[in-house]
């Protein structure tokens, strides 16, 4: 059967134009996140390997979230109190950051590149605007994002123990490390 010229142009566009445009989108659901609490008498961290993230290099849009119930501090009692008493994860399951990449990223460049995103961090239905600095690195598998920032629990209406033994610091340091892979829409 003889193909029309339109057919070949259409297929060519899908083949050579479509994939690079859609590959501006990078996603993952297995990133690492840690919440570090440094109290006077005790430092501990809750970690999760279930950080989900998205970066659209074309629009600069970034979106990250983690199911807070997946955080593990290595202590069942503390995990239980964290989920039930402080974070109330049944009612407010996610910690989220959404924003825009405000620095330039060159996917052709090797090594880590400084990156800045501006957006809002949201927990317990409370959003706080913030600017976060980190690094982005192009790898063979995708792009790797590392960043760290601090939040105050009182900003998110998280009630801490306030008598005698401070087990939970108001200042929480959050670090993320996530490898985002190219995502192609079908």
């Amino acid at each position: 059967m003889k193909r029309s010229a339109f057919y070949w142009i259409f297929m060519g566009c899908l083949l050579f134009c479509g994939r690079p445009a859609i590959a501006q989108l990078y996603v993952a659901t297995d990133g690492y996140v840690e919440f570090i609490s440094t109290a006077p008498l005790l430092e501990f961290k809750g970690t999760s390997d279930n950080l989900a993230g998205l970066i659209n290099l074309e629009t600069g849009e970034v979106d990250f979230y983690v199911d807070l119930a997946s955080l593990d501090t290595g202590n069942r009692r503390r995990d239980r109190d964290m989920r039930q008493v402080y974070l109330e994860t049944d009612k407010y399951p996610f910690a989220e950051f959404g924003g825009t990449l405000t620095s330039h990223f060159d996917p052709e460049m090797e090594g880590e590149q400084p990156a800045t995103v501006t957006g809002s961090f949201k927990m317990r239905e409370i959003s706080r605007d913030m600017t976060i600095s980190g690094t982005i690195e192009a790898t063979d598998e995708g792009i790797r994002v590392r960043a760290g920032w601090e939040i105050l629990l009182e900003d998110y209406d998280i009630d801490r123990p306030s008598v005698l033994f401070y087990e939970l610091s108001d200042v929480q340091t959050i670090n993320i490390d996530i490898l985002l892979r190219p995502h192609y829409e079908n």
Binding site: C13, C17, Q24, D67, A69, R76, R83, Q84, D159, E185
Partner: protein, 295 residues
């Protein structure tokens, strides 16, 4: 064949359309879909009853329980506080996340007891068990010399054993219910040994304790307890009531209550005397619960 320009434009635009649709926010999906229902009760004690709340492995749980005298004399003995309290100290250690062992000492009858707690069923948020269920076995020894009774009690006459099987369900963030089938046996009974047994014949006592908790703030709950207990030989039912308040302060759980029983362990809760609420034969008490993670 002549190609129409608008078709070429449409074909070139398709990838851009596809890319713009792909910028949506990630769909929020919970990783943990089915998890244990936790903190049905804030601690292992609910007023004077045992709960299903287990310790974590390596957790050391310390509690001090008090039950003062009856309030019926009012300010004369400061609503029972002047009468002295039955005080129970206990230490419990989590061997695993479901199994713990404990030892305690109560001032009433100078009782030493020890035992274990095992959680064999865990309520789940999704599919799985609808309730949590545990087993608490306690063996106790009364060490009071009883010289005032002008008789002696050998070691074999001073023993008590209780088996309780608390079952609980957390209905929502605020309301939890507790049922505690319980049985206790004494190697010897006597009213002067704080056991309500007019005929001095009972050795076995059984009942089903009931308790509930309603959280009215994130850290405070109102609690109630009802324990009817049956005396097999006398064929009578004795009834314990209590109402209390739980306050969680992070690390500590304070429990204050009014109860018509002076008992602070399971065996005495079933076998001990209970006063009449309408006659003000109830007493003030409080528990202080504290946990430490030592491993």
């Amino acid at each position: 064949m002549k190609i129409k320009p608008y078709l070429i434009a449409f074909a070139l635009t398709l990838p851009l359309l596809a890319a713009s649709e792909a910028t949506a926010q990630l769909t929020r999906e919970r990783v943990v879909q089915n998890s244990p229902v936790e903190l049905t009760f804030p601690t292992s004690r609910h007023i004077q009853l045992n709960t299903t709340e287990p310790l974590a492995a390596g957790e050391l749980y310390y509690s001090i329980m008090h039950a003062f005298g009856t309030v019926e004399n009012g300010i004369t003995d400061f609503w029972g506080l002047d009468q002295g309290a039955n005080i129970r100290f206990s230490l419990e250690y989590g061997i695993t996340d479901r199994f713990s062992v404990f030892a305690a000492r109560s001032s009433m009858d100078k009782l030493y007891d020890m035992g274990f707690r095992y959680l064999y069923l865990q309520q789940m948020t999704g599919s799985g068990a609808p309730v949590s269920a545990g087993l608490v076995v306690t063996a106790g020894w009364m060490t009071e010399d009883y010289t005032f009774l002008n008789q002696t009690y050998p070691f074999s006459d001073r023993n008590q054993l209780s088996i309780v099987m608390p079952v609980s369900r957390k209905f929502d963030d605020r309301f939890s219910l507790l049922l505690v089938p319980a049985i206790a046996a004494f190697s010897r009974t006597n009213p002067l040994l704080r056991i309500e047994d007019p005929l001095d014949t009972d050795e076995i006592f059984a009942g089903v304790g009931m308790g509930s908790r309603y959280k009215f703030t994130s850290r405070s709950s109102v609690t109630v307890q009802y324990v009817p207990s049956y005396r097999f030989e006398n064929e009578t039912v004795n009834q314990n009531f209590a109402i209390g308040l739980d306050m969680e302060t992070g690390g500590h759980v304070f429990q204050i209550f009014f109860s018509n029983a002076r008992a602070l362990n399971d065996a005495y809760l079933l076998a001990g005397p209970n006063g009449s609420f309408p006659d003000f034969e109830f007493r003030f008490g409080f528990n202080i619960n504290r946990s430490f993670q030592i491993r």
